[in-house]
């Protein structure tokens, strides 16, 4: 939302410059969401609304526990409920807290054309600096998780900030604080990874989830929001969590090679014009042209209806 850490950027959208990097002592942070401990109480959703002061207009009941129906400029985190039937025919209720994954290699930041509208702090948090946002919607195209939402009221893009304002003053994100079962944890990425490894082991050996695992997808360089999944081999059963998210090759191409090549091409065309001007010069009407035109006009207009002929 706002810029709380003025120096510690590791990435800034739409810049060709190196972000200031002198202060370099911050640990990489991560939020760990243990889906196997989640009871779907939505305390995290309420805490997010409370801390960020987000009040979406009241919607209507759609026949599902999910409420509201989708992420929104005023809904930065959302519990998604999936009823999954396993091979044995047993029902599993898979509840995933959806929201920004804070990718190490953020597709939104790569796609963003507005300088400084999306930044990544050294602790890994990807943040939208609203005052620089131009509302073009490119971040939606860049995101492999379909997270950002553009407000139709103020033409700005919004998503989870990982409570960058709280983290900046050594507090945990609001959702973490509110979670009653300890399903959401916050700490250094290393600590969270270690903790997750223990939990995964527990799920495998004591709970019988042989495919339990940590969701920290390498396709986007890992994420600063990670999930412990009972079925890490099938992330898509958790309300379409992508199996191997990457920045789309279309976005890579659009934001990659064609940018410099096009600028060079346009400059070359302009320079070619200038060179032609210097070598060949302007094409001016010569006195001979005027005379020839005159002769032709005279030849045609002197007799009333002249027969067709060439001169």
């Amino acid at each position: 939302m706002t810029n709380y850490q003025s120096q510690n950027y590791i990435r800034i959208s739409a810049t060709t410059l190196t972000p200031p990097a002198a202060r370099n002592d911050e640990a990489s942070m991560a939020k760990l969401i243990d889906v196997s401990r989640c009871i779907g109480c939505k305390a995290c959703q309420a805490a997010c609304m409370e801390w960020n002061n987000l009040r979406q207009p009241v919607g209507s009941f759609e026949g599902t526990l999910k409420n509201p129906m989708d992420l929104d400029p005023e809904v930065w985190t959302l519990m998604r409920f999936a009823e999954y039937e396993d091979d044995k025919g047993d029902l599993e209720w898979l509840i995933r807290k959806d929201g920004c994954m804070h990718c190490e290699d953020p597709g939104c930041l790569k796609a963003c054309p507005a300088p400084g509208a999306i930044v990544q702090y050294e602790n890994g948090i990807v943040d939208f600096i609203s005052q620089n946002c131009i509302g073009c919607g490119y971040c939606l195209k860049g995101c492999p998780f379909n997270i950002p939402r553009i407000s139709t009221a103020d033409y700005k893009s919004y998503k989870c900030t990982l409570c960058s304002d709280r983290v900046a003053v050594n507090l945990e994100p609001a959702c973490v604080k509110a979670c009653p079962t300890g399903a959401i944890l916050f700490g250094t990425k290393k600590n969270m990874t270690d903790w997750a490894a223990e939990r995964v082991e527990e799920l495998k050996t004591e709970r019988g989830y042989e495919h339990a695992g940590l969701y920290d997808p390498p396709g986007v360089g890992g994420t600063h929001v990670m999930y412990v999944l009972q079925h890490a081999d099938k992330p898509e059963i958790y309300s379409d969590l992508p199996k191997n998210p990457t920045i789309s090759p279309t976005v890579d191409f659009w934001k990659g090679l064609i940018k410099p090549v096009s600028l060079v091409g346009i400059a070359a065309a302009a320079i070619a014009g200038f060179m032609h001007w210097m070598i060949a010069g302007p094409n001016e009407v010569q006195p001979e042209d005027d005379e020839a035109a005159e002769r032709f006009i005279e030849g045609k207009t002197a007799p009333k209806s002249p027969p067709e002929h060439t001169i």
Partner: protein, 229 residues
């Protein structure tokens, strides 16, 4: 219009106004579009007040350009048919570029280069409009899937670069061929200019007694040009 005696109308008032509306839109679209294309050109958004203004006004200008260009095409397409001579003219492009137009096939109202500009834009502008609508966040983002929008933006960027290159050619040609600029501002050209650059057009105007921009209909001929506007 104060057209000196003996000169020919190259583009009538409607065409000229139509042309310059299109041109203004094109320049504004290039500035706002390039500002969103490369960070080094983001400063171009300052012409619109801010990046947000540039981004939000870009699609609206695009619609105006599309309508305006359609008007231009309606006025000019009949004088831009691709003919065999155009290929020969293109083959002699070296002579044309060297300002030696004698011996190059005679040209009607428009030469092959001008026809190329018209038809290239006829192809590119609708693609730009369509892909632009798909990518228009505020109104149409929910109409298509995100992968479709990604592809649309890629195609939009590539076509935009192509159209800018065509435009640079068009602008340079207007600077290079002296007298062209006046033909699109005040609307007239001298007989010498017409003789030098568009001899076939010149002959057709003189023989039919037309002041331009199109020859008068000739009753006895088979291949009648349509009535001039």
């Amino acid at each position: 219009m104060t057209r000196p005696r003996g000169t020919f109308i190259r583009a009538d008032l409607a065409t000229r106004i139509n042309h310059w509306i299109t041109a203004l839109c094109f320049v504004l679209l290039t500035l706002s579009g390039l500002s969103m294309f490369h960070p080094l050109l983001y400063w171009m958004s300052a012409f619109f007040g801010s990046g947000q203004w540039a981004a939000q006004i870009h699609p609206w200008i695009g619609i105006v350009l599309f309508v305006s260009y359609a008007g231009l095409v309606i006025q000019l397409w009949r004088d831009n048919p691709w003919a065999k001579d155009d290929l020969r003219w293109m083959m002699s492009i070296r002579q044309v570029l060297a300002n030696e137009e004698e011996g190059v096939p005679e040209v009607g109202r428009f030469n092959a280069g001008q026809k190329f500009v018209l038809w290239a834009m006829v192809i590119l502008i609708p693609i730009l409009l369509l892909t632009g609508l798909i990518a228009w966040q505020h109104y149409f983002s929910s109409w298509t899937s995100i992968p479709t929008q990604r592809l649309a933006l890629l195609i939009h960027s590539l076509c935009a670069i192509a159209v800018i290159l065509v435009w640079i050619t068009h602008v340079y040609a207007a600077i290079w061929i002296r007298g062209s600029m006046r033909s699109m501002t005040q609307g007239y050209v001298t007989p010498g200019w017409a003789w030098r650059h568009h001899r076939k057009w010149f002959r057709s105007l003189v023989t039919t007694g037309s002041p331009g921009p199109r020859p008068n209909p000739v009753e006895t001929r088979d291949e009648q040009p349509r009535a001039g506007e």
